[in-house]
């Protein structure tokens, strides 16, 4: 009886995803303990977040994929409506309108879109699987541009690019023409060229965004301001060396040089204390999670499952890459947390939700075979 219950309880869980998640989580607690100056409250918070995130993951994992498919369209429409509401009545903070005040709390609808857009696009392609042609890609592009545009207008360039990437991954797996991809890469390169040329940049981006790019190219331009993050982050990682300065021994960390060292810049702490070896271990753990995700995509029974699993996995990768790239100074500073490691509940829950969906896709295959 109990055995039966346990089996049913455990069945939707993908052991590999869970194992690697736990390993990253473990590393995360170790580094957070150091980054927060041994603040046990933060560690216990972290466990609370994990608890909530595991419940969300389990709930989504146990949900049949068909249910998720049915939810795709309503979730997307709801998300877009919320974004429009934000544009109309959202509350501003620091000059950006990103939040919707719903009495008890403020919600940031762009968070929901991170899952809703890939779900919607995967459902859309799945729905027209039999007759798929280039016109569907145009519709899909429109479905993508609407929320991305709304978020960009908030303004929240970082999030809008990440959500655009999530949408693009679905298009890519659905068979977007290689030629078009080539063109887009070239256009992207061209844009990057323009952006790095200061004078043209102002016309395309907001001034502070240009500033960030210019600062990344030459942090010493503004060493006490925007460049400070980059300089200190790079110094922390570089001074870590091959094996690191050892746990709790990071001088950059403990002398207050790393800003936001428990959140977006936690990787600088990690790199300083655990060195190149530590970094490689972390990258490998992320790689394992990604390989597992792509495997699930490969084995998925339906187009919906394949597209969704593939896109969510690559999105996860993008977060990890962008964060580590920005902390080590090869990407401009955008507010992206290090997946599963940065202190903070929202990002943890939304990542584990994505894993839950991956598990649901994986389980779907098992059911089909049985």
């Amino acid at each position: 009886m109990i055995k039966d219950f346990l089996r049913r309880f455990v069945r939707p869980i993908d052991p590999w995803l869970l194992l690697f998640t736990f390993l990253v989580f473990l590393l995360s607690c170790i580094v957070l303990y150091s980054a927060s100056n041994q603040d046990m409250d933060k560690i216990s918070d972290k466990f609370t977040f994990l608890g909530v995130a595991l419940c969300v993951m389990w709930a989504l994992a146990s949900m049949p994929l068909q249910v998720l498919m049915r939810l795709a369209l309503p979730m997307y429409v709801f998300g877009v409506l919320l974004l429009i509401a934000v544009a109309l009545f959202g509350s501003s903070s620091h000059g950006a309108k990103r939040w919707l005040n719903i009495g008890v709390t403020k919600i940031q609808p762009s968070e929901l879109m991170k899952l809703a857009l890939p779900l919607m696009l995967a459902w859309y392609f799945h729905h027209f699987e039999a007759t798929l042609n280039w016109k569907h890609f145009i519709v899909a592009a429109v479905l993508m541009v609407v929320p991305v545009g709304l978020i960009m207008k908030q303004p929240d360039l970082g999030t809008s690019l990440l959500i655009a990437a999530a949408g693009f991954y679905v298009l890519f797996f659905a068979g977007l023409s290689w030629k078009l991809i080539g063109l887009m890469v070239m256009a992207g390169g061209g844009l990057a060229y323009v952006v790095t040329h200061w004078n043209l940049c102002i016309h395309i981006l907001r001034e502070y965004q240009c500033q960030r790019v210019a600062t990344m190219l030459d942090p010493m331009q503004d060493p006490l301001g925007a460049g400070y993050h980059i300089i200190q982050g790079t110094i922390a990682i570089g001074s870590g060396g091959l094996l690191g300065k050892g746990w709790l021994n990071g001088t950059q960390t403990h002398l207050d040089f790393i800003p936001e060292r428990t959140t977006d810049f936690i990787f600088a702490v990690f790199g300083e204390e655990f060195g190149l070896v530590g970094n490689i271990v972390l990258v490998l753990l992320y790689l394992m999670l990604i390989v597992r995700g792509l495997t699930i995509a490969n084995n998925a029974a339906t187009l919906f499952g394949r597209l969704l699993a593939g896109a969510l996995t690559l999105t996860f990768f993008t977060y990890a890459f962008v964060n580590m790239g920005m902390v080590s100074g090869i990407l401009p500073v955008v507010g992206v947390p290090l997946p599963l490691v940065s202190y903070g509940g929202t990002s943890m829950v939304s990542l584990m939700a994505a894993f839950g969906i991956l598990m649901s896709v994986g389980k779907d295959r098992k059911l089909m075979k049985a």
């Binding site: 925007a226 400070y228 100074g329």
Partner: protein, 630 residues
């Protein structure tokens, strides 16, 4: 499912797998780039970064720019900086704090006031910052501490620039002061993106010109890359980017005039604003009593702060900018002009003042028992006849009055270049509807219009607004936004940026109408309520006295001696001079001063005398005995 479908599916599967492989390659390549970057930083460049990290503790030292100096129009320094040593404690490194301060007190004199101030700074800031325990050390104290510094980790002597206000209380409200940056300032700086420029800066302008011209005064923070040894001593400077000093300000204020005006008040409370009507430049901006802005510079100690805040005279309250008072009879020239412009009265129309205006069963009384007899517009202003304006207000109605007064900025900010201006209250039907809750209180009653006519009722304006409107009459309807700063001077290259007079509007008054009102205001000085105060003046002036009731005495006769000080009437005087080509327009308010003619006009006289003829007053105007009535 037929064969081709299966084949199709297989082809699709294959295409998808190809994409998966491409994705995996993409992931591997980008992760590879990351690992390459890490290897570069952590292996190839490790030595360099290790050195940087070791040197890091003060590898980048911000250099705070000297704050801009504030001068008056004649080059008198109102706010400047001087360098002095301070003894500073970094609480997080100093160990048990009480003990540390007690030990310090054995070498350097630390007063209880210093301790209280330090405690307050601790509460206001994060504990890893270094905070001054004692400022302005002399050389001997510096030497004594240097000899013992090894006993005090986390304590150091720093050379810092201090703000100083050489004139103390004079012009304190307009100059303002600087104080330590608090959490709210930090948030504001963060929101505006100026926070990096404040690295190393402890102070920021809090009120007055110091606040509103903060971005000009502050300058641009420089920085120094310094190499230090393990003990934290600087060995050599690697690179230095000098700070850009803050810009200097030259005010339009004449500080001598300001001082004469402040002295003229004696111990009385009140405000005076003098404006150059031809360009809106503020010549004097008095709010009495003032405070010593030097108290705030090192972080004010709680005792002094408490004293300032609980003082019943409210010295921190900027009365010229934020105090709103009914204008009393000084409202009459504006009413008269409104009547002429709206064709409600001709200048020559005569009414018979019997001393009472009856309206709706209520008797509105004149000051003079029995009335002034036959009164035309000229006489109504010269003798300050209430009945004339009760009747005029009733004829015009509240809407016409408030429409006309709004063009003179009554009830709205004048746009002066310091923050916190009050807009006062220009009563109107709409204002009342918004101000009150219940339908009965929201309704405008015609009887209320009657007292509006003599500047009572809901009318409430700042002395700044009164001076601004007076300047408009002086300048025949050409209005400028008042401004305190004349030039912004670049401290590096000496380039002057003129703060251009900002023309506000040209009011389309008929020349004959404004001339009538100007003529009547000259009459006030020549033969009317202002005559005594201006007897023997070497110039022609135009003005109007006013006495504003603080509360309404129901039936009983007002008597100055029989009324508690804080319920006594406010005394007003507005004026401009020379009458034919005005160079100065002003408004004086003496809080609870009694009659305008007696309390406020003599202050204006001393100010105008000095500004136009250079004559220094012999004694404070408030001590001059006078018994004129309003």
């Amino acid at each position: 499912m037929n064969r081709s479908e299966i084949k199709n599916q297989l082809a699709e599967r294959y295409a998808f797998q190809l994409r998966l492989a491409a994705a995996a390659l993409f992931v591997l390549v980008l992760f590879g780039i990351l690992i390459a970057r890490f290897s570069w930083l952590q292996v190839a460049q490790h030595g360099r970064y290790q050195t940087l990290a070791e040197q890091n503790r003060i590898s980048l030292v911000p250099i705070v720019p000297p704050r801009g100096v504030i001068y008056d129009r004649n080059g008198v320094v109102l706010a400047h900086n001087f360098s002095a040593y301070t003894l500073e404690i970094t609480p997080s490194k100093a160990g048990p704090l009480e003990d540390c301060i007690n030990r310090l007190a054995t070498i350097i004199d630390i007063t209880p006031k210093d301790r209280r101030r330090f405690k307050k700074l601790m509460e206001d800031t994060k504990d890893f910052e270094s905070l001054p325990i004692k400022t302005r050390l002399n050389d001997e104290e510096v030497a004594r501490f240097a000899a013992n510094s090894y006993q005090f980790p986390g304590v150091e002597v720093k050379a810092r620039l201090f703000r100083q206000y050489p004139l103390g209380k004079v012009a304190s409200h307009l100059i303002g002061y600087i104080g330590r940056i608090n959490d709210k300032d930090l948030k504001d700086l963060d929101d505006s993106g100026d926070l990096p420029n404040y690295r190393g800066t402890d102070h920021i302008g809090k009120v007055g010109v110091e606040q509103s011209y903060e971005s000009d005064l502050h300058g641009v923070t420089g920085f120094e890359e310094v190499e230090i040894d393990a003990g934290g001593r600087a060995i050599r400077t690697l690179k230095r980017t000098p700070p850009t000093p803050g810009k200097n300000l030259v005010l339009s204020v004449d500080i001598k005039l300001q001082q004469i005006a402040e002295d003229a008040f004696g111990d009385r409370k009140g405000a005076l604003v003098a404006i150059d009507p031809q360009n809106g430049g503020v010549l004097a901006f008095v709010s009495k009593p003032g405070f010593d802005p030097n108290l705030f510079v090192d972080g004010i100690d709680p005792q002094s702060w408490n004293d300032l805040n609980t003082d019943p005279d409210k010295p921190l309250n900027n009365r010229a900018l934020r105090g709103t008072y009914p204008p009393g009879s000084t409202f009459k020239p504006f009413m008269a002009l409104g009547a002429l412009e709206g064709n409600y009265r001709s200048a020559g129309a005569v009414i018979n003042d019997t001393g009472v205006f009856n309206f709706g069963g209520h008797a509105f009384r004149d000051d003079k028992v029995g009335g002034h007899g036959a009164v035309d517009m000229y006489k109504s202003i010269v003798v300050s006849c209430d009945v004339y304006y009760y009747s005029l207000a009733n004829t015009m109605g509240i809407d016409a009055i408030s429409r006309f007064m709004a063009t003179l900025d009554f009830g709205s900010p004048t746009g002066i270049d310091i923050d916190g201006e009050q807009s006062g209250v220009l009563p109107s039907q709409e204002w009342k509807r918004k101000r009150f809750r219940t339908p009965a209180t929201q309704k405008w009653y015609a009887g209320e219009t009657v007292s509006i006519g003599i500047g009572q009722g809901y009318n409430a304006y700042t002395p700044l607004q009164m001076a601004h409107a007076t300047a408009a009459i002086a300048n025949s309807g050409v209005m400028f936004h008042p401004h305190l700063v004349q030039y912004i001077v670049d401290g590096v290259n000496g380039n002057k940026t003129v703060v251009e007079p900002r023309p506000e509007r040209v009011l389309p008054w008929k020349p004959a109408n404004i001339a009538t009102v100007q003529h009547a205001m000259e009459g006030v000085i020549k033969e009317g309520t202002g005559a005594k105060a201006f007897a023997g003046a070497a110039y022609t002036a135009a003005g109007k006295t006013g006495t504003a009731q603080v509360f309404s005495l129901k039936g009983s006769k007002y008597s100055e001696s029989g009324t508690k000080a804080h319920l006594r009437d406010h005394a007003w005087f507005i004026a401009y001079a020379p009458a034919d080509h005005p160079k100065i327009a002003l408004a004086v308010l003496v809080e609870n001063g009694g009659w305008g003619a007696a309390a406020a006009a003599p202050i204006a006289r001393q100010v105008l005398d000095y500004y136009l003829t250079g004559k220094q007053p012999a004694q404070a105007a408030s001590d001059v005995e006078s018994s004129d009535s309003d």
